[in-house]
């Protein structure tokens, strides 16, 4: 059932991105993101770019935004830690909006000790660099995607949606 749930949730998120007229997506994989990245790759209305580092993805989204197109970065929360300088620069210096969908590794849902430090520092980092964020605990929380895109444009900043495992799977493990 897990794969079915993940596919349905990936479909729901991708449909929201398309409704919001997101045309460019950049991604770096995480095992929790397999279904979503596969669905975005298959979406003909979205140009999908695979990146080598998450800050490349932030730059791509910023450039797309500069060019008048909506864009999304899909990555793990480690990518937010790596991209702190880029995100702060685009939030406060350039003031370019885009959405980041980041899986929230390193909390109670995780099974791997090496992920845990990320759970401790992700939200303090985002608060510290002044990048707005929301946490999706359940699949229905992902319905905030279109509102988060609008929020980013109103605020002229990237906005992050931290996605828990249960949000991407419906609670299946």
């Amino acid at each position: 059932m897990s794969a079915t749930n993940e596919a349905a949730i990936a479909e729901r998120v991708t449909a929201a991105l398309v409704r919001a007229r997101v045309e460019i997506a950049a991604s770096l994989p995480d095992s929790w993101l397999s279904a979503l990245i596969a669905r975005i790759e298959a979406e003909p209305k979205i140009k999908h770019v695979r990146v080598t580092r998450e800050d490349d993805g932030a730059g791509i989204c910023a450039g797309a935004s500069l060019g008048g197109k909506r864009a999304v970065l899909v990555c793990q929360n480690a990518g937010l830690l790596l991209s702190a300088n880029a995100l702060a620069g685009y939030a406060h210096h350039h003031q370019l909006p885009f959405l980041i969908l980041a899986v929230y590794r390193g909390t109670h849902e995780d099974r791997f000790y090496y992920q845990m430090y990320k759970g401790l520092v992700t939200e303090p980092l985002l608060r510290g660099i002044g990048v707005p964020y929301h946490v999706a605990d359940r699949p229905e929380d992902l319905d905030i995607v279109e509102d988060a895109i609008r929020e980013s444009e109103l605020a002229r900043k990237p906005v992050v949606l931290l996605m828990r495992h249960a949000a991407l799977t419906g609670g299946a493990s």
Binding site: R53, G59, I60, A62, G63, A64, G67, N85, G89, R156
Partner: protein
């Protein structure tokens, strides 16, 4: 070749509707000193982000040719972006890297492994469709023309002299966010 001469080669060859994206430091200042009429976005700071921003702009505006003028120190911040760009393969993106082998704005300190880095080879190995390398002013004009004529993504390594390029002493007339607004207005066809 002086940095200003390298920048001038682009002023003379770019089409009126080409868009320039500049990395940080002396390369960007060399382009600014040309007072070129071309729509330009100065992508600095953050350091190292100009190539990926240029890629995003190229994907968003496939009808426009995007020319990235980049410094060697800036590119070294993230060589992985060469692979990302090659993978995305935007036919409308060209990159020229001004190579002076040092961090000019920061005080002229040498790059790691300065004078031994093969930037064109790195781009070729990453999978760029076209790469070239101009060692001096006798080679540069032909290769800049070649860069602009080929289908992208194209990458040109341009060796330039090390010349001091200190920080500007005034704060400038506009903020980055104001520059961004002006750029977007011109991109949309306004003045």
């Amino acid at each position: 070749m002086r940095r200003s001469a390298a920048a001038k080669l682009f002023v003379e060859r770019l089409a009126p509707d080409d868009i320039v994206v500049c990395g940080l430091g002396s390369t960007g200042r060399a382009w600014r000193e040309q007072n070129a009429p071309h729509l330009t976005y100065w992508a600095s700071d953050p350091m190292g982000m100009a190539p990926s921003l240029a890629l995003g702009l190229a994907l968003a505006r496939p009808e426009r040719r995007i020319v990235l003028l980049e410094g060697d120190g800036d590119l070294l911040m993230n060589l992985g972006v060469l692979v990302t760009i090659a993978g995305a393969a935007p036919t409308n993106l060209r990159a020229a890297v001004f190579i002076n082998d040092r961090y000019e704005t920061g005080g002229g300190q040498p790059l790691p492994n300065a004078r031994a880095i093969g930037f064109a080879q790195l781009a070729a190995g990453a999978g760029w469709r076209w790469t070239g390398e101009a060692h001096d002013e006798t080679q540069a004009p032909r290769l800049v023309s070649g860069l602009l004529e080929v289908e992208g993504p194209g990458f040109l390594a341009l060796h330039v002299e090390a010349e001091a390029s200190p920080y500007p002493t005034d704060p400038g007339p506009t903020s980055q966010a104001e520059d961004r607004t002006i750029f977007q207005r011109r991109l949309a066809g306004g003045r």
